[in-house]
């Protein structure tokens, strides 16, 4: 089996996910095609080596429905000979797409484009429906609660206070602001342009660098009402966690990931592909893994996913220089650091989704490119990227610079 290498990676800046967001005027397929074309342009690849476009996307309805990956191929500069595959592993879709591409390379393919998109200002989160939330066999049988309740459940179960979560959020904003200030993302962020070539957005739009503890303290927790009032999800959660008398509702808009638009693309290929194309790989994919976990607490998947990926690579937590753990909610990276005994100075060193926002289908690929940039900037070698996933799943990828 051959090894899979990352040759390049780009991402769009993230626009606020509402009607006032800069990317609200851009279609999902347009933004996807812009990222694909940018990557193509930069690496000058003979596009006939590209054997697939694997595209993460969560809410696959309307303009994001109907196999958006193939639509992206058709709108981009890629030839018709490239097929397209839309994948949905919820929040980890973008990373799952990279992993699937890597698997394709390991199975003999030459190169593939992977990544993802989510235009959350245009296609509402949840608008594709979900049996797990409404089919009584699942909703009652599996004790379904929304993710925010799950995040609060993690905080309660593992002892993270509102203070802990807010402090984490302030630090995420601080790191994000510093990263932009020092132009650490310059290599990866591709400005989004309109059909006439005019620039629409060149920077992450969601950040609030002036965030402080006092400001966050004023925010009301987001899930108290649905938890303790109607319909009372806390009671549902205690069906699975009966030792808890109550759930501490610690998460709010300021310590949870923001709703944004964005896309990212990664070029994955075999060692031979580099030779044929005259490209030097930026990193090797050491291993990747995905797992299923208990669905009510839902967001604890990163730990077992990371452990499986580490085990496949024959590595230990100590062998990883940098961690990217998606900041869906503050309790998720806090739990990751607690469970795997990882210091915060090795994790999300340039901020995360609390500051930047979380364009569901794209985030996995974005985290990968962020990790790669930072390895190169700091001269380090290995990074582990992982995301928690709706329904109780986790995905992880380990990369190593070459």
């Amino acid at each position: 089996m051959s090894e899979a290498f990352i040759y390049d990676a780009v991402r769009s800046p993230r626009g606020r996910g509402n009607a006032k967001g800069a990317l609200n005027s851009v279609t999902a397929v347009d933004l996807s095609a812009q990222m694909v074309d940018a990557l193509q342009e930069r690496s000058c690849v003979d596009s006939h080596h590209i054997e697939d476009l694997i595209w993460g996307n969560v809410t696959q309805v309307g303009e994001q429905g109907g196999c958006l990956a193939r639509a992206t191929v058709l709108l981009s500069s890629l030839p018709d000979s490239v097929p397209g595959l839309s994948v949905n592993r919820f929040c980890a879709s973008g990373l799952e797409a990279v992993n699937l591409a890597a698997a394709d390379i390991c199975a003999g393919a030459t190169a593939a484009l992977a990544g993802g998109v989510e235009m959350m200002s245009r296609v509402s989160i949840g608008s594709d429906g979900a049996a797990v939330a409404v089919d009584p066999r699942l909703a009652i049988g599996c004790a379904f609660v929304p993710q925010g309740i799950s995040a609060d459940l993690i905080a309660t179960e593992f002892g993270f206070s509102r203070q802990d979560c807010d402090a984490y959020a302030v630090e995420s904003q601080r790191r994000a602001a510093l990263a932009w200030e020092e132009e650490r993302f310059g290599r990866s962020v591709i400005p989004v342009r309109d059909i006439n070539g005019l620039e629409i957005l060149s920077h992450d739009e969601h950040m609030r660098p002036d965030t402080d503890m006092a400001g966050l303290a004023e925010l009301n927790s987001s899930f108290t009402d649905i938890g303790t009032g109607t319909p009372g999800f806390d009671r549902v959660a205690t069906l699975k966690y009966p030792h808890l008398e109550r759930i501490d509702h610690v998460h709010h808009a300021g310590n949870s990931s923001g709703i944004v638009d964005g896309a990212a693309a990664v070029l994955v290929g075999s060692r031979e592909f580099g030779g044929k194309s005259g490209l030097r790989p930026r990193a090797r994919i050491r291993s990747f893994a995905k797992i299923g976990s208990e669905p009510t607490i839902m967001l604890t998947g990163p730990m077992p996913a990371a452990e499986r990926a580490l085990s496949r690579a024959g590595m230990n937590v100590g062998d990883i220089d940098l961690f990217e753990v998606n900041e869906a909610f503050a309790a998720v990276p806090l739990r990751f650091m607690q469970a795997l005994n990882v210091d915060h100075d090795r994790l999300n060193v340039n901020g995360g989704a609390i500051a930047f926002g979380h364009p569901l289908g794209a985030t996995g690929a974005m985290l990968l490119s962020t990790a790669l940039d930072e390895l190169e900037r700091s001269g380090k070698s290995t990074a582990l990227i992982t995301l928690c996933v709706g329904g109780g799943m986790g995905v992880a990828t380990i990369i190593e610079r070459v």
């Binding site: 608008s127 429906g129 939330a133 409404v134 089919d135 009584p136 066999r137 909703a139 009652i140 049988g141 004790a143 379904f144 609660v145 109607t230 319909p231 009372g232 999800f233 009671r235 549902v236 205690t238 069906l239 009966p242 030792h243 808890l244 008398e245 109550r246």
Partner: protein, 724 residues
């Protein structure tokens, strides 16, 4: 046979009138269904018939399905139960769909005859599922009538099209609460809710029905769901609005029931899956879920306990037929506290005159006033007219002399739970009432045979254990003392049925039946606190097992000092055999901290100044720290400890009838109603598994989990208590 009359008048109106012979209330049996089908075939085929009126020759339309038939359906199904049950249910759908189309071609819309349901009175269960299949429902303004679908209350859900049709008629947000609560409003309320179409003066019912069928046009006889482009009001499962309704509905149901009621879950699934497909497919889905419920032992047990057994007990199943029924007019209640006034109110509501006696007239009047307060609450909620309220209260007379008890047929003593006080009062009652008057002591713990010594003629003395709050609790535990006579027992049973409560009859022994079983439940909870099990795990596990209230909350309600005084008395009686020292140690610690329960605004829980429960006391975790057993183990301990005690009560002859064992447990202390009661629950578990699991529990936790002989025998023989 001939459950219906059929008649066609000169105008071409066919009247199909339901009139099951020998019954006060029409009830649907299998033969009855087939006969109804034939009458509709005839009316639809007869060209002279212009329209059809379905009504009843009785005061009411119908009381529902013959639940005996449903209860037996599974057993009769034999090896291929699922197939037979499903086919049977589909036959209902086929016939009701025929009524609904009434000869109209569903494709072209041609043909068809108007069908109206004219309800003179109550129409519940299938007695509403047939009307909702008709084109219009007209009800008489009968104040006694109730109309709707109460199936969920006995462990079923409407499975003859009621679920599918009500959801399409009202939309999910309006229909689901009615179905989940089993609401059966009166005609006016039903009209306001939209479950019926018209309410008319009783005398005009048939005329109005005829008028309607003769004037109805093609639009009137086409159901909304049979029209092109029909959309379910309020949205489907994946509409923007409907979606959130479904998310909320499942969450609320899980939260409120812990998901232990198969019928409620099946109802939700039938609704959810049904709204996504055309009407006829929805009926098939409803039939699948209804069959699943009928095949589920939980539902079978709930029907048996909550309906069949309970009805039999209320009808005097345990009453000696030798004793003639006495006409009861007036009773006395001595002790006008919470229990006494509650008993007085229940009796007055049933039309009895009540002498409410206490040591002075002020105290007695305060008891009468607390009954009045309950009536006012009911009146405010529209359950009672001002007239009725006044009438009921008029029947309660406050008194302070024992002479005023003269002329009563029954006197219930409900004074403080102290043997000396009780003896004194009982003695005085015995001296003041006539020779035929039955004297009962309302006690939850004191041996009745001992108290009987206070009356000269112990034959007329017995115990009646009422539950608190009396106006809401449905059970009365009648305790036959060693010398209680059949006549007294019969009168107590009759009285209980008269006040619309359910009697069980048990023999006199420590804690009788109900407290005998509930005390171990409370003790097991307290014991686990002492072991360091997280208190939340104890309370949540109890509720998740289907208990209405956790053991620690229940102890707080009844108070720690009461628990300690019961423990003290039990220890004195049992001597060396006493096994609950570990329980008492926990109680003593709470008592020492002044935490006597809710009344002290401090117990296992903390309370605010108004007595509102805030949360578990953090001191519990500090005094008895950390253990986290698997939740299943906690649930097992809490249920087995009750069920094994029920079996022992049966072996000891305290309980002599298993129907009473199940009904008494569910109505008396809320033993996991989904299971049908402790004996039914053991049958679901199976004796074999219970023996194995209790063996393990005995090894780990002590002899209170020792398996009783009866259960061992059943395990060996592969039999059960209720399932033979």
């Amino acid at each position: 046979m001939a459950d219906f009359h059929y008649d066609r008048d000169a105008d071409g109106v066919a009247v199909i009138s339901w009139d099951v012979p020998g019954r006060r209330m029409n009830i649907m049996s299998w033969d009855c269904l087939l006969e109804l089908s034939e009458h509709f075939d005839r009316a639809i085929a007869d060209e002279r018939v212009k329209g059809i009126v379905l009504t009843s020759s009785k005061a009411d339309f119908a009381g529902g399905m013959d639940l005996d038939v449903l209860a037996n359906m599974r057993a009769r199904g034999g090896g291929d139960a699922a197939r037979r049950v499903f086919d049977g249910v589909m036959e209902f759908h086929r016939i009701f769909r025929k009524i609904e189309l009434a000869g109209r071609d569903p494709k072209t819309g041609a043909g068809g005859k108007p069908v109206v349901a004219a309800l003179p009175g109550t129409g519940v269960g299938i007695g509403y599922e047939i009307p909702i299949s008709c084109h219009r429902i007209i009800a008489a303004d009968n104040p006694k009538a109730v109309i709707g679908l109460p199936e969920i209350k006995v462990g079923l859900f409407p499975g003859a099209g009621g679920t599918t049709r009500l959801v399409r008629r009202l939309g999910v947000p309006n229909a689901a609460p009615l179905l989940l609560k089993g609401s059966t409003p009166g005609p006016d309320k039903a009209l306001a809710l939209g479950t019926i179409d018209e309410v008319v003066p009783a005398g005009d019912l048939m005329e109005r029905a005829r008028e309607w069928v003769l004037s109805a046009g093609p639009e009137d006889i086409t159901k909304p769901w049979d029209r092109k482009g029909f959309r379910i009001p309020g949205g489907g499962a994946y509409d923007r609005k409907g979606y959130m309704n479904f998310v909320g509905a499942s969450a609320m149901l899980s939260g409120e029931t812990s998901g232990v009621y198969p019928a409620a879950n099946a109802l939700m699934s039938a609704i959810y899956e049904g709204v996504q497909v055309p009407f006829d497919t929805a009926l098939t889905i409803e039939a699948r879920w209804f069959s699943k419920v009928l095949l589920n032992p939980s539902s079978t047990n709930m029907i048996r306990t909550l309906f069949l057994d309970r009805k039999q007990l209320e009808k005097g199943a345990r009453r000696s037929p030798e004793v003639p029924r006495r006409d009861m007019r007036k009773i006395g209640v001595v002790g006008a506290g919470m229990m006494g006034s509650g008993i007085a109110l229940s009796a007055a509501r049933a039309g009895l005159d009540v002498i409410l006696l206490d040591r002075d007239i002020d105290t007695a009047s305060r008891g009468r006033e607390s009954a009045a307060a309950i009536l006012r609450k009911d009146a405010a909620r529209g359950k009672l007219t001002a007239d009725k309220q006044a009438g009921i209260l008029e029947r309660i007379v406050a008194a302070d002399t024992f002479e005023s008890l003269n002329g009563t047929e029954l006197v219930i003593e409900a004074v403080f739970e102290d043997p000396a006080v009780k003896r004194d009062v009982i003695h005085k009652i015995g001296q003041s009432v006539g020779p035929d008057c039955v004297i009962a002591t309302n006690t939850s713990t004191l041996p009745v045979t001992g108290l009987a010594e206070a009356v000269r003629d112990a034959e007329r003395f017995l115990g009646m254990h009422f539950f608190s709050p009396v106006h809401r609790m449905m059970l009365v535990e009648i305790i036959r003392g060693k010398r209680s006579g059949d006549a007294a027992v019969a009168l107590a049973l009759d009285f209980t049925s008269r006040i619309r409560k359910t009697p069980i009859l048990v023999n006199d022994a420590r804690f009788f039946y109900t407290n005998r079983c509930i005390i171990p439940y409370l003790n097991e909870g307290i014991r686990m606190v002492g072991e360091g099990v997280a208190p939340a795990l104890i309370e949540n596990s109890a509720r998740h097992a289907g208990m209405p209230v956790g053991p620690l909350q229940l102890i707080d309600e009844t108070s720690i000092d009461l628990a300690l005084s019961i423990a003290k008395a039990t220890r004195a009686a049992l001597g060396d055999a006493y096994q609950d020292d570990d329980v008492d140690a926990v109680l003593a610690t709470l008592a020492k901290a002044g935490r006597y329960g809710r009344k002290a605004k401090a117990g296992f829980y903390t309370y605010d100044k108004g007595g509102r429960r805030l949360g578990l006391w953090s001191g519990l975790n500090e005094s008895w720290p950390g253990q986290s057993p698997p939740p299943q183990l906690v649930r097992d301990r809490l249920l087995y400890v009750q069920a094994l005690e029920a079996v022992r009560a049966f072996e000891a002859g305290v309980l002599t009838d298993l129907r009473e064992g199940d009904v008494g447990a569910v109505l008396g202390w809320g033993f996991a109603p989904w299971s049908g009661g402790p004996f039914s629950w053991l049958d679901i578990v199976t004796a074999e598994r219970a023996v194995t699991e209790c063996g393990t529990l005995e090894d780990r936790f002590g002899p209170r989990f020792k398996v009783p002989e009866t259960l061992l025998r059943m395990a060996a023989a592969g039999t059960g208590f209720r399932d033979q």
